[in-house]
Amino acid sequence: MNINRPRPNKLHDELDALLDGRPVELTDELAPLAEAAESLRAELATYQLDPGVADHHLERVLEGSGTVVQLPVRGPAGDWEVRRRVVAVALAAALVLAPATIASAAALPGQAMYPFKLAIEQLRIASVQWSSGREAGERTRVAHARLQEFQSLVKLKMFTQVPGALRALEQAVVAAQAAVAEARADGERVGSVEARLTEVRAAGGQVAEQVRVAAANGSIDLTNGTRQAVQAAVQQSQDVLPPPGREAVPTKGTPTPTTDESPPNTAPSETNPPLTSGPQTTNPPPTNPPTSGPQTTNPPPTDPPTSTNPPTTDTVAPETGEDEPGSGSDKAGSEERTAEGNVPPTTAPPAP
């Protein structure tokens, strides 16, 4: 009996090597194990598959191949099957979702169908995420939908919903800007999408500013809480949704500005940093002269001028500052406001 046995792992390895047929020194410890293994192996070797049975098995397998002759095309058939299922699921989803989509299209925040509308938008975005260009387009479409909701809420005087709608619009615009920037980085052509997004930003900024002014001067009947919430929301959104007469501040995801946007000598003035009077002094719009006062004069921040040529959703508002309307007349801005605070109809600007 061997007292100093090798470590169990070593013994395991030696036995394993022995069973694999590798040369191993047959120790006293291994000998009975080898003998047991040999007995088992000899016993198992007596079990031989009957040739007739083997033929029958092969027959079964090959018979199967006779009935499944299309096996060679099974790979492509699998792909086709997947496509067929995808189409079936899409069709079923369309049948289910189409009526709901139509019903929810006009839903506004706070209404029962509104969450459904948002869910459908997310589905649409998810379905185009394979292409950054298409995603940018879809996100811009969503931003436009938020703008329409915002405008509708203002028109319907649902001012309690306005701060939320404005934040939603702001978020949608930021997401669309990021998507546009990504698409451009991918080499996609997103010029028209970007132009549409610029329109949305300009129109959103215009409506927001009108609401803010109306809330400030009391032309719309608001509780103090709602008024403060509206004003705060408008204030917060101004970086993304620039009020008329103010150059857009590039936000995260916004493409790198062109040289026209931020020339070195166009720093904002100290008294009214958000307003951009600088560029107009260096690059005045030739077809859109200011209606009143010198351009270096900044209007009071609480009542910024409404541009004589407000950007609308029908036009492409310039982002580069070349056509920046600049500081418009206070009088003109105040004249356009309605007593109820409704958004006045916007007019298309003249062609530059």
Partner: protein
């Protein structure tokens, strides 16, 4: 020096190539036959040693092979892994068979009891089971092993698989498989009387030593 490589090498060195695998996926008769010839004997031995019934083992072998060839398009591994994959199917089929068997046993217990009173008293079911393993002193001794040890030895010896291959099939580590085969063969040797009594007492299984027991359990994990 001693080795037990002959039977195992006959299975592992089957001469199958990746082209055979591709052709068998397309159910080309020659390729299917080559795979069958390479693995069916080992599958049969595995089933035979597991169920002890020739006809049942033949049926299980045929069913496993049919399932394997049908499922071959889904097999994505290299040709070297084909054996392990086949034995995974074989294990699954075996467990499935046992589950069905135990279920049918429970369901027909009353029927069988009634029938048993009518059958010839000389036919003892236990004797029938032993008769199935007639002449198989070693396989009867295998019943003394733990299920894990038995399964490792079946795959290793009947299936002709290496320890790493068995580990893959069973979802264990190679070390655990080596430990199980060592203890299994030690138990088998003891039951077959191949070890001296004092040697069997020297390292009883399971170990009464808590420390050793823990290490054994760790090895099996």
């Amino acid at each position: 020096m001693l080795g037990f490589g002959g039977e195992r090498e006959a299975v592992s060195k089957v001469g199958l190539s990746a082209a055979d695998l591709v052709a068998a996926r397309l159910r080309e008769p020659a390729a299917v036959t080559r795979i069958y010839t390479a693995y069916a004997p080992a599958l049969f031995r595995f089933f035979m040693a597991s169920v002890g019934d020739r006809h049942l083992a033949e049926d299980l072998t045929g069913n496993t092979f049919v399932s394997a060839i049908e499922g071959l398009p889904k097999f994505r591994g290299p040709v070297e892994a084909l054996g392990g994959w086949l034995f995974q199917i074989a294990r699954h089929d075996l467990y499935d068979h046992r589950r069905k068997q135990s279920r049918s046993r429970i369901e027909s217990l009353d029927e069988n009891l009634t029938e048993a009173t009518r059958t010839d008293a000389t036919v003892d079911p236990e004797e029938l089971a032993i008769d199935r393993l007639e002449g198989s002193r070693v396989l009867v001794a295998m019943r003394e092993l733990s299920p894990d040890q038995r399964e490792v030895l079946m795959l290793r010896m009947a299936g002709g698989m290496t320890a790493p291959e068995v580990a893959t099939v069973l979802g264990k580590t190679t070390g655990a498989v080596k430990a199980l085969q060592h203890r299994g063969l030690a138990s088998l040797a003891r039951v077959l009387g191949l070890r001296s009594p004092d040697e069997t007492q020297e390292r009883p299984y399971p170990s009464p030593d808590p420390g050793r027991l823990t290490s054994q359990e760790d090895e099996e994990r």
